[in-house]
Amino acid sequence: MRTDWGGVGWAGPAHPHPGVWLPVAVLFSCRTGVNRGCQTRRDIGLGQGSRCSECMDWGEKRNTVASIAAGVLFFTGWWIIIDAAVMYPNMEQFNHSYHACGVIATIAFLMINAVSNGQVRGDSYSEGCLGQTGARIWLFIGFMLAFGSLIASMWILFGGYVAKEKAIVYPGIAVFFQNAFIFFGGLVFKFGRTEDLWQ
């Protein structure tokens, strides 16, 4: 259904079923402001219209998609640990000090994403207070905290629950998944976005 747009032309008037195509046309006309860069290429090569629009949509919306994916991962991680904390409130089943792991992962998330890639490469407009070296050290510490919290969550799972052969392993699994989700959310938010779209 997408391929015949290129042949007919974009929202062509000669389409036999305008009633069916009207919602689709309305939905895409809302997005013309976004993929305006695609118009010229579509005009040049009509046969590749649909494929071009797909790749351009991904390019223009890449930051939005990455932000939403990172948000889903990060907050799903926190809701997993909320679930574990609510289900097992006493210290024997779920030691409250295990929450520190997720807190450090969140701090690492903030530290990683507070520094832009341009600042690390040194091609940003403003130097900041410490410049490129400070940005690199900050990012280094942030990634160290992120990996450290991920490793610590595995340690909690195996050292605190599996090796002790506790009856309820779920809090350990919840801690591990919380940290894994926050970690990958941070990676998606950091590397899934491109800063070319900011200019």
Binding site: N63, S67, F75, D83, V86, W198
Partner: protein
């Protein structure tokens, strides 16, 4: 004229979503009104977008860090709205059927909010300043 039709359709779907939410709370099998707190999530979900829109004056850039942060927080609010009734059902405050109704209401309401921004957010003939 299309704006009025879209407005009526969106308010209809919003009413459907709120009906799902109230069914999850008020059916005599359920009768627990804690899920109504998701209304807070509905209200605060567009706020990051509004803040980012006011803060970023540079409109010719296709994206900005502030707007992406707003998307991140909006996603967090949406995820929280889905996570909250699940937690309530996990600790047996509400039943799983009520949780399902609330989740359905969540989906409809957030699609309505999304539709509101898709229909009215980018149109040149309609701006928020007119309100």
């Amino acid at each position: 004229m299309a704006g009025v039709k879209a407005l009526v359709a969106l308010s209809f779907s919003g009413a459907i979503g709120l009906t799902f939410l109230m069914l999850g709370c008020a059916l005599e099998d359920y009768g627990v009104y804690w899920p109504l707190f998701v209304l807070i999530f509905y209200v605060i979900s567009p706020i990051p977008y509004f803040i980012a829109k006011r803060v970023t004056y540079d409109s010719d850039a296709t994206s900005s860090a502030c707007r992406e942060l707003a998307y991140f927080f909006t996603t967090g609010i949406v995820v929280s709205a889905f996570g909250f009734p699940v937690i309530l059902a996990r600790v047996a405050v509400i039943k799983w059927g009520a949780c399902g109704l609330v989740l359905a209401g969540n989906a409809v309401i957030f699609l309505t909010i999304q539709g509101f921004f898709l229909v009215f957010g980018r149109g040149d003939d309609f701006s928020w300043e007119q309100w």
